[in-house]
C-alpha cells in the first residue's frame, strides 16, 4: 500500500509532478554533461599514455603532461637499454608546431613521431590508409575530427608543417586532444625534421620492463644512471598529466563544479516540490498517524514518492543526456557516458531525492495527529 499511496500522491497533481521531473531532469542532464565532459577530457588526456607500449617513461625534469615536454638526449635510450631488466627502449618525439593549411592560414598541431616497427606508439583506430603508409616520404596520419581544422579533405591532401611538406596517408577516428590541438602522427625522423629538433634529441624514451622484473628496481637503476631526467611509471605519468590539465588549469574543477551546481539546483527543486506535495497531503498523513501508522511507515511513503520521482526523472534525464552524448560523439570535445557514470547518476538521483525528502519527513514528523479532528 505504501507504494500505491506514494504513486497516487505523486500522480494526483500532474503539474507538481511535472515540476519535480523537470528539476530532476535538469539536474541529471547538467551533471551528465559536466561529468561526461570530464570523462571525455580525462580519456583524451591519458589516451596517448595508455596506448604507448611502455612501463616506464623517461623524460625531461618538470614535464607536466604528454604534449608539453622538453627534449632529452637520444643517448638516454641506450642507457636505459643497458639497464638490467629492460627489454626495450623506444624513442618518441612530441612537440607543438604550426600546420599551414593548403587553403591558407595556420593552426597549432602536436606532432608525434615514433617508428611503429619499434612498437612504441602508433596511431590506432585507423579508418583509412594504414600505419605502414607512414614509410612513404612526407607521410602523416591525422584524425578525421580535425580535417576541417587542418584545412584538408582527406587522404592524399598535402599541407606544410614548419618548412616541410606533409601528405596525409591515413585517417584515424576518435584520437582527439584535450587542448583541441590536432595530433599528427609520423615517423621519428620526420617528426624531428618537422619541428626542427636536432637528430640527437628526443622527447621520451618508452621503456619496457621484462616480465617478472622488479619495476621499482629497474626505475631506481635508470634514475641512478640518468640523474638529469625523470623516470615515471605509466600510472604516475597519467596522474601528472591529469593533474595538470584538469586541476592546475582549473578545467576539471569547473566541470566538477558545474556538476555539483546541477545537483544542488536539482535537490532544491525536488525538495521544494516534495515539501509542498507533503504539505498538501498533511491531513492524510495525520490520518495515517491517527490510524496508528508508525513513523517508519510514513517515512516509507514519502521516500517512495521521492524514489518514484527519481526513477521517472532518471529515465527522462538519461534519454536527453544520451541524445546529447550521441550528438557530441564526432565533435572535438565528446561527452562520454560510461556504465559507471550511468550508475553514478542513478545513485546521485536517488541520493538527491532522498535528501530532498528529508524536509518533507521533518514536516510530517511535526504533525499533530489531533489535527484529524480539526474541522
Amino acid at each position: 500500500m505504501t507504494l500505491t499511496l506514494a504513486f497516487r500522491n505523486l500522480f494526483h497533481d500532474r503539474v507538481r509532478l511535472a515540476v519535480t521531473l523537470v528539476g530532476i531532469l535538469f539536474s541529471i542532464v547538467l551533471v551528465a554533461v559536466q561529468l561526461g565532459l570530464y570523462l571525455g577530457a580525462r580519456g583524451m588526456i591519458i589516451s596517448m599514455i595508455d596506448r604507448a607500449d611502455g612501463d616506464l617513461w623517461i623524460m625531461a625534469y618538470g614535464t607536466k603532461n604528454f604534449e608539453e615536454a622538453q627534449p632529452i638526449r637520444a643517448r638516454e635510450r641506450y642507457v636505459a637499454l643497458a639497464t638490467p631488466g629492460v627489454v626495450s627502449a623506444v624513442p618518441l618525439v612530441t612537440a607543438f608546431t604550426d600546420w599551414r593549411k593548403p587553403t591558407g592560414g595556420s593552426t597549432l598541431v602536436v606532432v608525434i613521431g615514433a617508428d611503429h616497427e619499434d612498437g612504441g606508439l602508433a596511431p590506432w583506430n585507423i579508418v583509412e590508409g594504414s600505419v605502414t603508409g607512414l614509410g612513404v616520404r612526407d607521410a602523416v596520419i591525422v584524425d578525421k575530427t580535425y580535417l576541417a581544422e587542418l584545412g584538408i579533405k582527406g587522404v592524399g591532401d598535402t599541407a606544410q608543417v614548419g618548412s616541410s611538406r606533409v601528405r596525409v596517408v591515413g585517417l584515424t577516428e576518435g584520437i582527439r586532444s584535450f587542448t583541441v590541438t590536432p595530433f599528427i602522427f609520423t615517423t621519428l625522423n620526420r617528426a624531428r625534421s618537422l619541428i626542427d629538433m636536432p637528430a640527437d634529441n628526443i622527447t621520451y624514451v618508452l621503456t619496457k620492463v621484462a616480465p617478472g622484473a622488479d619495476i621499482e628496481k629497474v626505475r631506481a637503476d635508470i634514475r641512478a644512471k640518468l640523474p638529469d631526467s625523470e623516470v615515471l611509471t605509466k600510472a604516475e605519468f597519467r596522474t601528472r598529466s591529469l593533474n595538470h590539465w584538469l586541476f592546475a588549469t582549473g578545467a576539471g574543477v569547473a566541470l566538477i563544479g558545474g556538476a555539483v551546481l546541477g545537483l544542488i539546483v536539482g535537490t532544491v527543486i525536488v525538495a521544494q516540490t516534495l515539501y509542498s506535495s507533503t504539505k498538501d497531503h498533511l491531513s492524510e498523513f495525520a490520518t495515517l498517524r491517527a490510524l496508528g501508522s508508525s513513523s517508519g511507515y510514513i517515512h516509507k511513503v514519502i521516500l517512495m514518492q521521492a524514489g518514484l520521482s527519481a526513477v521517472l526523472g532518471y529515465v527522462l534525464g538519461m534519454a536527453i543526456a544520451l541524445t546529447i552524448v550521441y550528438l557530441s560523439e564526432h565533435t572535438a570535445l565528446p561527452i562520454v557516458m560510461s556504465p559507471g557514470l550511468a550508475a553514478l547518476l542513478l545513485g546521485l538521483t536517488f541520493a538527491m531525492c532522498a535528501i530532498s525528502a528529508l524536509s518533507a519527513i521533518g514536516k510530517v514528523m511535526r504533525i499533530d495527529p489531533a489535527m484529524v479532528f480539526n474541522r
Binding site: M1, T4, L291, G292, S293, V372, R375
Partner: protein
Amino acid sequence: MTAIATVQETPATAAPAGTSVVLEATDIVKELGHGAGKVRALKGVSLALNTGELTLLMGPSGSGKTTLLSILGCILSPTSGTLTVAGKPTTGLTPEALASLRRRHVGFIFQSYNLFPTLTAEENVRLALDVRGDRGSDAIVHAQRALHHVGLRHKLKSYPANLSGGEQQRVAVARSLVGAPSVILADEPTAALDSENGLAVMALLSQIAKDKSRAVLAVTHDPRTVPFADRILRIEDGLIVGEERRTEGVETVHELARNRKRKANA
C-alpha cells in the same frame, strides 16, 4: 417504544452486567497552551467504556469533547490522570508505542471522513490493515468483507469523490472496523450528513456496538443520535456532569422513521 433512565453517576465508570470495561480513564486533566494562555480543557474526567455499548459524549462547543476523544484515542497525552486501553496502561508510553496501541485497539471515525482521495473504497479500508502489517490477499478479503458489512459491496472500486457523504462515512466506518479494534471512537459522525444518511450511520454504529468484544463512543451534539445510544455522557466545561443510561432497546431505523412520521402527522 423506548425509555431513557437518567442516572447521575460520578465518575461515569460503572459497567452493567454482561459487559466488560475496555477503556478506562481516571481523573484526566489536560492543559493546553502555555503561560498566560494556558487553558484547562479537561478538569479531571473519569469514565469507562463498556463492550457491547454505544456511548454518546454530548456537550456544547468548547466543553472538551474533542480533547477528551483525542486522549481516549491515545492521540493526545493527558497532563495528569491515567488511561487504560484494552487493559494496557498508556502512562509514559512513547508516541510510537501509543501509535502501536492505536493501530491494534482503536478505530476512528471522523466528521469529515478523512478518506484518502487517491485510493478506492477498498484501498482506504485496506490501509488500516496495512499500517498494522496485515497485507496480501487476506487483507483484501477482510477489507471487502468490512465494506459488505456496511452495505457497500457494489462500491469497492469507487473513489471517495464518486461516493455520497453517507457512503464515504460508511467507508470510514468499515475502515474503523476492519482491524477488529476493542474501541471505536467517532467524532461527530453525522455532522456532515443529511438526516437520512445520519440515521443510517448511527444505526450502523449501534449495530457495531452490539458486538460484545467492542465499545463504541461517539462525540456528538446531534440530538437525532440520542435514540441509538445505550448511554449518554454529558460533558460541560471540562467535566463529565451527567450520565443517562437507556434502559430499553434502541429504536431501529424503521421505528425511528415511523415515529417521526407519526409525530409529523400529529
